[in-house]
């Protein structure tokens, strides 16, 4: 069953793509089988990650970029991630609202995902979903992170090009963002650039880039958009292309992809190991016992972790 599903995904069948994404999200065994067949077919799509604070216009920018790519005849896959509630495990996925007009275009595939417990702005099956969309023949894959604060930087692990979206009026907070999110951009986009205070934001960003890129091969461009009015979109597209060429010429693309596989491998192992320790029956009793002891101060968490690791390594 997984063979024919994988083949249909490679043919670009919408329902099969959707189905395999669900299986991957649910950690189903069929997904693992199908991913084996899919992997050799990947590597053609350019993956663009888009991150930024809540309300910075990530979904709207993605909508506009997609329209522009479609005009060039390129096909687009969109992964839009919103937070999963840590309490109920449910999620309200609302990024699609701004993209519904794309729904009827066969050259576009949009999938909304919850973070399902993962920190860092992504969700753990996002690597699989990128591979699925890539194998299905999409030329461009746009990944939208959750609205980020300062440290959700996992997007660089998956993107060939990372766009950090900024809006005017953050003021001094840009300074405080110097570490983390403000280090990861291949491209800065100041959205809502018709707002007052944009000059100050541009100046702050320029000085940031001057310091940040003083010893780098490439200076991170700063672009202005008003995504809601479709302004500045072509320039963003052009800079994404320029970055792609830069990656290819500097051999950094292969390095970047290798880093992605490394991150994915770590994530798969982490997930399997955690499931093994916390979900398998043989360990359930042990974990409960250890937690009791830690609560009663008879054991500390480090010592408890030693006990668990010893059991696994045996």
């Amino acid at each position: 069953m997984s063979d024919s599903l994988a083949l249909k995904v490679i043919e670009g069948d919408q329902r099969s793509i959707a189905r395999l994404i669900t299986l991957a999200e649910d950690n189903a065994d069929e997904a693992i089988e199908a991913m084996k067949i899919i992997h050799p077919q990947t590597g053609n799509a350019h993956v663009v990650g888009i991150t930024g604070v809540m309300g910075s216009g990530k979904s709207t920018l993605i909508y506009e970029l997609t329209k522009a790519y479609r005009k060039q005849g390129k096909t687009v896959g969109i992964i839009a991630i919103d937070p999963t509630s840590p309490f109920s495990g449910g999620a309200l996925l609302g990024d699609r609202i701004r993209m519904m007009e794309l729904a009827m275009d066969e050259g576009v595939f949009i999938r909304s995902m919850g973070t399902r417990g993962m920190l860092g702005g992504l969700t753990s099956s996002v690597y699989d979903v990128v591979e699925i969309l890539d194998a299905s023949g999409k030329d461009i894959i746009l990944v939208e992170t959750v609205g980020v604060g300062q440290a959700e930087v996992d997007i660089i692990k998956i993107s060939d090009t990372t766009i950090v979206l900024i809006v005017p009026g953050l003021g001094d907070s840009i300074q405080t963002l110097k570490a983390g999110v403000m280090e990861i951009a291949d491209l800065y986009v100041i959205n809502k650039a018709d707002r007052s205070g944009v000059e100050q934001t541009i100046a702050e960003m320029q000085s940031l880039v001057d310091i940040e890129c003083s010893n780098k091969k490439r200076k991170t461009p700063i672009l202005l958009t008003v995504a809601k009015e479709s302004k500045g979109i072509d320039e963003v597209l052009k800079e994404i292309d320029m970055h792609k060429i830069f990656l290819e010429n500097s051999k950094e693309l292969a390095q970047q992809r290798r880093l992605r596989y490394e991150a994915e491998l770590i994530e798969i192992i982490r997930k399997r190991l955690m499931n093994f320790i916390f979900d398998e029956d043989q360990f359930k009793g042990t974990v409960d016992e250890l937690l009791d002891k830690i609560s009663k101060k008879k054991l500390d968490p480090h010592a408890a972790s030693e006990i668990i690791l010893d059991k696994i390594l045996k």
Binding site: R15, A18, G89, L93, G94, M104, I110, R111, G114, R116
Partner: protein, 131 residues
């Protein structure tokens, strides 16, 4: 395997009132489901296409304008055309009593009018989705 119920909440047609749909969406989230909220003014074709891409188990339609007999049934028909009979469709909004049996006959599994406790909707979905 860690399966989650996925549901698309949509408002077809020309109707600007989405309070009820949003309240239901939140309640379903709080019940542990993944709710894809698509917003106002959707055509049946857009709803069906979104449901395919999002691979949902349930579609929840809400309408207060009176066009439910046309628009709800259009969604059901389009799903059938595409061979997606396994998606459960539920509906809410202002639906006269007399129309409810007709909608159910057409393929809408549950109709939940104003005043329905959200627990009833949650319960209905959990019982009817085969996971």
């Amino acid at each position: 395997m860690e399966q989650k119920i996925r549901i698309l909440i949509a408002k077809p047609g020309l109707d600007g009132h989405d309070r009820g749909a949003k309240i239901v969406a939140r309640a379903l989230r709080d019940a542990g489901m993944e709710v894809i909220y698509t917003g106002l003014h959707q055509t049946p074709a857009m709803i069906v296409e979104a449901a395919i891409q999002e691979d949902v188990d349930v579609i929840g339609l809400s309408l207060l304008s009176g066009a439910h007999m046309t628009l709800f049934i259009d969604v059901v028909d389009m799903l059938r055309e595409k061979g997606l009979e396994d998606i459960i469709i539920i509906a809410g909004g202002i639906v006269p009593e007399d129309d409810i049996p007709l909608l159910k006959k057409a393929g809408i599994s549950g109709v939940f009018g104003p005043g329905t406790p959200v627990e009833v909707i949650v319960d209905f979905i959990q019982k009817n989705v085969k996971k």
